[in-house]
């Protein structure tokens, strides 16, 4: 091991966490470190972690904002467990995050922030930096980041408080030096963000970024540097993508493949707002976006658009799903295409708006009056949101049904590299619309799919009425007892019939064995990483992570039967488990976490080992 600044220690993967006040720009530097690592060719995954308040009181524990990422030369499927490095911009950030830093981990602190008032706000009675245990247990690097930032900008005409605001880029620059990251992506970012409007801001931040980098070069600090080589990724064009951006692109791609106009209507809600914002910025694709007056209106506008022959789409989170439930019922009884995106967050009620959870599965399954299943599909990674969005568009249009896209905050704001698809190779998505001259009965069905065909306003000769009252096959209002039971059964069977169009379920590992880990959605990364690790160690464990939750895949029962035990990890109290046990009368073991945070790989490994 060397302390020379020119020598590097090679690492397979590194987990780094930036933490500071919510106004300190931690999300910005986290994103920049991510971009830089992506350009360096690493595989990566990110976990932004911020409070629900925009600016909680400065210096306090609730005001701490963090951003963690794992970057590696091997496959990276999660943002990592305990960080190998922590950047703490103030005492509160240290207090909140220190416990999780690995023993011997790199700890970079901004000494300027460790003043008495800040220490008190963080609940420190004495300065922890003077406590010997800190430098014994960790590789402590004390830097007066604020002061060095001001010095770097001594010739700038900016006001002192403006200068101090650049300090996050000093910290970033220093980490770039430690981890040998390229500076160019961040310099380009600063120039494109500020260059035109406020060139002095761009210049100042670039100057500070470089100052942080060169501080590593020139300082007397004895500091190891680390290198993480390029990941062995498949050839292709890559970009960094988060789940909501991928979802936006997937929806656009879906309606393009279907040659349908999209009408998207949303109401601002964390963490789904960026879908509305993302689509509103894409008007040149001919997308119509409506910011509705509330969650109910948003789905109403979308359903109206679908009735008029376009594809209506809306996006929300748990509280909005509650409000949309009556319209979901209407969309299902009228059998019109509709895509409802639910980006789950911690609940119930307002709950934990900026933390992740998988709490809305049963709500999506059952959250309407009467027996009325709706198809549900959950993405498994940020980039998978693209593919799941397309799949939702496919099912909505083929079966003329509402579809719930069940995403999670963890995927929505987490990023990963994405090998871009060649869009010209993607299949067309057919719509199920009456053809001119064809006889039309509103609820006449395809015997195979049980789907009805739609006709929409503007099509002469097909004028008809739909609505929330029960109807007979020809669309007339019917209170007939037998008809109602028949229609109720058909609506459920139609959703079940979608299973016939699904590909075989992928089993990660042997197709039979001692233990199957069965998950869904965003737990894919932690489950797969843990299972792969244990498989490499020779354990008899396989995993299945479901995307299609309703209907469940037809081959799932058979897969379950080939394992002695089934473990179902979920970020809820056992919602998939209830469904699996109910559907297949199969005993399963739950592994449940509702802390607003994703599973770590190590806790997953530990749980699996417990059962083997």
């Amino acid at each position: 091991m060397t302390t020379s600044s020119t020598q590097f220690e090679e690492k397979e993967a590194i987990v780094i966490r930036f933490a500071g006040d919510s106004g300190d720009g931690m999300q910005t530097v986290g994103e920049q470190f991510t971009d830089s690592s992506a350009f360096a060719g690493n595989d990566l995954a990110t976990l932004p972690d911020f409070p629900a308040e925009i600016r909680a009181p400065a210096g306090t524990l609730p005001g701490v904002s963090g951003f963690q990422l794992q970057f590696g030369s091997r496959e990276v499927k999660t943002p990592g467990d305990a960080p190998d490095a922590l950047v703490a911009m103030n005492p509160a950030a240290l207090k909140v995050n220190l416990e999780e830093l690995v023993p011997g981990g790199l700890l970079i602190v901004n000494t300027e922030a460790f003043k008495k008032s800040n220490l008190l706000k963080a609940g420190y009675e004495s300065d922890p930096l003077e406590d010997e245990s800190l430098s014994t247990n960790y590789k402590l690097v004390k830097i007066n980041i604020t002061e060095l930032t001001k010095q770097a900008l001594s010739e700038s005409s900016m006001k002192p408080n403006q200068k101090a605001r650049c300090k996050n880029f000093f910290a970033l620059g220093f980490t770039y030096w430690v981890y040998d990251r390229p500076l160019d992506p961040t310099i380009n970012f600063l120039n494109s963000k500020w260059g035109k409007r406020l060139p002095e801001v761009a210049d100042a931040n670039i100057k500070v970024l470089k100052a942080g980098y060169y501080f590593g070069e020139t300082t007397e600090l004895s500091q190891n540097r680390y290198q993480v080589s390029r990941a062995d990724n498949a050839p292709g064009t890559y970009r960094k993508i988060n789940g909501n951006d991928a979802l936006v692109y997937g929806l656009i791609s879906g309606v393009q493949s279907a040659s349908k106009e999209m009408v998207f209507s949303g109401y601002p809600i964390t963490p789904a707002s960026s879908i509305l914002e993302g689509l509103a910025a894409q008007k040149h694709f001919g997308i119509k976006t409506v910011q509705a007056e509330d969650e109910i209106a948003a789905i109403g506008v979308a359903l109206g658009a679908s009735f008029a022959g376009r594809l209506g789409i809306c996006a929300t989170s748990g509280p909005g799903m509650c409000l949309k439930s009556e319209f979901m019922g209407l969309s299902a009884i009228t059998e019109l295409p509709l895509v409802i995106c639910d980006v789950q967050r911690g609940g119930p009620s307002t709950g934990l708006p900026t933390k992740t959870e998988q709490g809305d599965l049963l709500q999506s399954y059952f959250g309407r009056n009467s027996d009325l299943p709706i198809p549900i599909i959950a993405p498994t990674s940020p980039s998978d949101c693209f593919w799941v969005a397309r799949e939702c568009v496919r099912i909505a249009l083929a079966y003329n049904t509402p579809v719930i896209l069940l995403s999670e905050l963890y995927l929505a704001i987490g990023s990963e590299p994405w090998c871009l698809p060649d869009l010209s190779t993607l299949p067309e998505i057919p719509s199920n619309v009456i053809q001119p001259g064809e006889e039309f009965k509103i609820y006449k069905r395809d015997p195979e799919t049980l789907a009805r065909k739609v006709a929409f306003p503007g099509m002469p000769g097909y004028e008809h009425r739909v609505g929330g009252l029960e109807k007979d096959e020809s669309g007339g209002v019917s209170y007939d007892a037998a008809n109602h039971e028949n229609m109720t059964r058909i609506r459920a069977e139609k959703v079940q019939a979608i299973a016939k169009s699904l590909p075989p379920t992928e089993v990660n590992g042997a197709s039979s064995g001692k233990l199957l880990v069965l998950g869904w959605g965003g737990t894919y990364g932690a489950i797969t990483s843990a299972v792969n690790r244990l498989q490499a160690e020779g354990f008899s464990v396989s995993s299945v992570v479901l995307r299609h939750l309703n209907p469940l895949p037809l081959d799932l029962e058979d897969i379950l039967s080939r394992f002695d035990k089934i473990l179902i990890p979920e970020l809820n109290l056992g919602q998939l488990r209830l469904l699996i046990q109910g559907h297949y009368l199969r005993e399963t073991i739950g592994f449940n976490k509702v802390q607003g945070r994703p599973f770590t790989v190590s806790e997953m490994v530990e749980k699996i080992q417990e059962l083997l």
Partner: protein, 343 residues
């Protein structure tokens, strides 16, 4: 339904808008007269039948779409404005008519009604006001008078009622009108004016519920009352009413007052002159405050103002975006955010 004729027969007649299924309102309900007037109006608008969409919420009046041989959507309680907005945004070429009631539109759907009026899509909204919940069997509604005794208010309602016209003024509706279910000619005229208006049209229809609020408007439009109690608004004409056209409305400071015309009374020149294009909402508000029994009840077009139409503005933004950025190319957009190539 027949699919042999794909083109709507022209010219359309009332019969073209009558569906085969039976109408299930109570005998004597004011809704029949409104339905009849709409079926008379539609063929005269020059719109092909397949381009009409009738959207409703929940309530007696909201069964309306089932009784119209057009595209129709009977939605959920209070939410018709949202669905109608979606239809119009999706296809601005359609003639969208939204049917609601005093409970559907002003109670459970008050929020949506506010927003559809302020957004100003080119939708025609007909609010049937019978001042009672009919379909749920007779509870008081948001337009019921204080003191109204119903099954849910055995000691009388203590809710201060909402005035639909004032609500529409508050939401800055660009077109506001009132008509009555006993005057088919006036209804057809009003519906045509609503259709002609570019932007949202809000029409309050005073409507009778024979079962739960019989004769609610009798003192206003009953055979014996109407001549003295209804003030027909006419563009550019003074506010004159009465069997002998001998009464008018004059402004006294900021208060309207009734004056008698003639030798010993006021002259016509002193009366307020109706101007539906008056942008100042003070005038429209003044009209809305002419309430029975102190005043005659105005019917006709209260206001018709030009404002940007929602779906037009939306399309204009799309056109502008395509003008400046070109038609979207998704493959380019995917790469656009910064990408790298792995060989």
């Amino acid at each position: 339904m027949s699919t042999e004729t794909l083109e709507s027969p022209q010219p359309l007649t009332k019969k073209d808008f009558v569906p085969p299924n039976e109408v299930r309102w109570c005998p004597g309900c004011g809704d029949y007269a409104i339905l009849n007037s709409i079926q008379k109006t539609f063929p005269e608008l020059g719109v092909p039948r397949e381009k009409f969409v009738v959207v409703s919420g929940i309530g007696c009046s909201s069964r309306f779409p089932y009784y119209m041989q057009t595209y129709g959507f009977h939605t959920i309680h209070g939410r018709a404005p949202t669905l109608a907005t979606g239809v119009k945004v999706a296809n601005p070429d359609l003639s969208v008519w939204m049917i609601t009631g005093d409970g559907d539109g002003l109670s459970i759907g008050g929020n949506h009604l506010l927003h559809v009026l302020r957004r100003n899509p080119n939708i025609n909204i007909l609010l049937f006001n019978n001042r009672v919940y009919g379909l749920t069997k007779g509870q008081y509604s948001p337009t019921s008078d204080v003191g109204m005794k119903t099954k849910s208010t055995p000691m009388g309602s203590i809710d201060h009622p909402v005035n639909p016209i004032q609500f529409a003024i508050g939401a800055e509706a660009s077109f506001i009108a009132r008509t009555v279910d006993t005057d088919p000619k006036h209804m057809v005229e009003t519906f045509k004016a609503a259709h002609a208006h570019k932007g949202v049209s809000f029409v309050e229809i005073l409507q009778n519920c024979v079962i739960y609020n019989k004769d609610v408007w009798e003192d206003v439009y009953g055979r014996d009352a109407r001549a003295e109690q209804i003030l027909y608004l006419a563009d550019g004409q003074p506010l004159i009413y009465g069997k002998d056209k001998d009464k008018g409305i004059r402004l006294n400071n900021l208060d309207p007052e009734i004056v008698t015309l003639g030798e010993s009374g006021a002259s016509e020149g002193e009366l307020l002159q109706h101007n539906p294009k008056e942008a100042n909402s003070l005038y429209t508000t003044l009209l809305s405050q002419l309430v029975h029994p102190q005043f005659p009840t105005p019917v006709g077009v209260f206001r018709a103002l030009e404002r940007p139409v929602y779906e037009d503005s939306l399309q204009a933004q799309i056109d502008a975006a395509q003008e400046s950025k070109g038609q979207g190319d998704l493959q380019t957009s995917l790469v656009g955010g910064g990408s790298w190539v792995v060989e």
